[in-house]
């Protein structure tokens, strides 16, 4: 019995498409055969195999980005039924139909669901989200990290630079230069590291310039949207505290 129902069941998609970075977006509807345990990516693969719209007419296959297929690379991030998330971990059985797919418009759209997340990596460069250890000789092992600290720092290290938190943020838009929650949380991560801490002022300074941490308006959408459950608002408030301290220290010439 299960077989007969499976054979007739279908999955409906409404996909926002865009042919070039500057052309106008439009939507197309698709209806594809259902298979058990499908996710949004396998739905898109089916459309790619047989690019026919619901009305039977042909269309160009839908473009998307994906890589790891296990929610660790962030490449497949898109807006699914109104919420930004990863397509590879979006299970069709758990989604309301028709499933609406849109690109994360906070980022420049390249084509269809493919976006350019370069600003995410630009932000990491801007705040120097790394630990400089290169030199001309072996510096030896760095100081140890306390286990209690390692435990919360590990949570912050799960960020995959996916951009969902920026898509959810009302202050990340064309009128605002706010760097976004992810990079601020990375400053907290690298400033918590015993070796990274040695350059912590540089990272705080980077957040105390135009488009830095002051862009946060506390809507707190980011923490509710992050697929990795990163405590972004705690990171932001903690860095607010550190930048405030740093500000007074600089004024007092300490």
């Amino acid at each position: 019995m299960a077989d007969t129902t499976v054979a007739t069941k279908t999955v409906k998609f409404i996909i926002t498409r865009q042919d070039t970075p500057d052309s106008k977006p439009y939507t197309e509807e698709f209806e594809i055969p259902y298979r058990p345990n499908m996710n949004v990516i396998s739905g898109l693969m089916e459309i790619q195999r047989n690019p026919k719209k619901t009305d039977g007419s042909n269309t160009a296959p839908v473009c998307w980005d994906s890589n790891c297929l296990e929610e660790v690379c962030g490449a497949c991030s898109m807006v699914i039924n109104g919420k930004p998330r990863q397509a590879c971990s979006a299970l069709v059985d758990k989604l309301e139909q028709p499933i609406r797919l849109e690109p994360m418009r906070t980022f420049p759209v390249v084509r269809d669901l493919v976006i350019n997340r370069e600003r995410m990596f630009g932000a990491l460069k801007r705040v120097k989200a790394w630990i400089p250890i290169d030199g001309t000789y072996d510096l030896g092992p760095g100081p140890r990290m306390a286990e209690t600290k390692r435990q919360w720092a590990y949570e912050l290290s799960k960020c995959m630079t996916c951009g969902v938190c920026l898509e959810a943020c009302p202050n990340v838009n064309d009128r605002n230069s706010f760097i976004g929650p992810a990079a601020i949380s990375q400053v907290r991560l690298f400033n918590a590291h015993p070796t990274g801490e040695m350059n912590k002022e540089e990272r705080l300074d980077a957040l105390m310039t135009d488009g830095g941490i002051e862009g946060c308006g506390n809507s707190q959408n980011c923490v509710r949207s992050c697929p990795k459950g990163i405590p972004l608002t705690t990171s932001i408030a903690a860095i607010n505290k550190d930048t405030t301290k740093h500000l007074f220290k600089k004024w007092l010439g300490m």
Partner: protein, 223 residues
């Protein structure tokens, strides 16, 4: 905006509490004298404020300049924000949008209110003693009463929610628990300060203030 927006935003945030937040609380308490002690109590409150030393300087540096900077920069901050409460229906996100809407309402209301009261005194159309009667005329008109109610509630929400945001922006409330407790306290502040203003509006509209009112001189002065 020129310069470093980190410093402008920090200044904006600070001015929202000191002096503006302090001012709105003192203003609420002074007005509340109208409810608690009637026209005489209110007149005393007004008199007390006017007896403060270097009052013009206090007004300029304690109110007008901070208000202008916070208000105008606030309009720019609001312009820089989207509202996405349709997609993210979370309480804090609603508060984010409300903070911006109430900021704009407060901006309009404050200028209108200052025009009706303080500016008329500067222009010589009103004396400090006649403020009670002016407020009676405003509060006994249903239209003005409702407009004042909206203005006052918007301003007090803006201050209370702003207090919550201020504590986050300066890194005073860091974790989710501290932020939750502070949100209860700020809600309490909203209820109490709103009550002060609403009760005084009601008192201003009452007969006591009508008798004190010299209708003939004051009526022409409110616009």
């Amino acid at each position: 905006m020129k310069g470093n927006s980190y410093f402008s935003r920090k200044l904006h945030s600070l001015l929202g509490i000191i002096p503006l937040g302090g001012f709105i609380v003192v203003h609420g308490l002074t007005n509340y004298q109208a409810f608690e002690r009637g026209p005489e109590g209110f007149a005393k409150g007004v008199h007390f404020i006017n007896s403060l030393p270097v009052l013009p300087l206090l007004e300029i540096f304690g109110i007008y300049l901070p208000l202008l900077f916070h208000g105008i920069y606030g309009l720019y901050v609001a312009y820089q924000s989207d509202s996405n409460t349709g997609r993210f229906k979370y309480g804090r996100n609603w508060a984010f949008t409300a903070q911006r809407i109430t900021g704009v309402i407060t901006f309009v209301f404050v200028f209108w209110h200052v025009y009706q009261t303080r500016l008329q005194i500067y222009l010589g159309h009103l004396t400090h003693e006649e403020l009670g009667s002016t407020m009676n005329l405003i509060a006994s008109s249903p239209v003005y009463f409702v407009l004042y109610l909206i203005g006052v509630l918007a301003a007090v929400f803006h201050f209370s929610n702003g207090l919550w945001a201020f504590l986050v922006s300066w890194g005073i409330t860091v974790g989710p628990k501290a932020q939750r407790i502070s949100s209860y306290i700020c809600m309490g502040v909203f209820v109490i300060v709103s009550a002060l203003f609403i009760l005084s509006l009601i008192a201003f509209g009452g007969d006591e203030f009508k008798e004190a009112a010299n209708a003939a001189t004051a009526f022409t002065n409110i616009g």
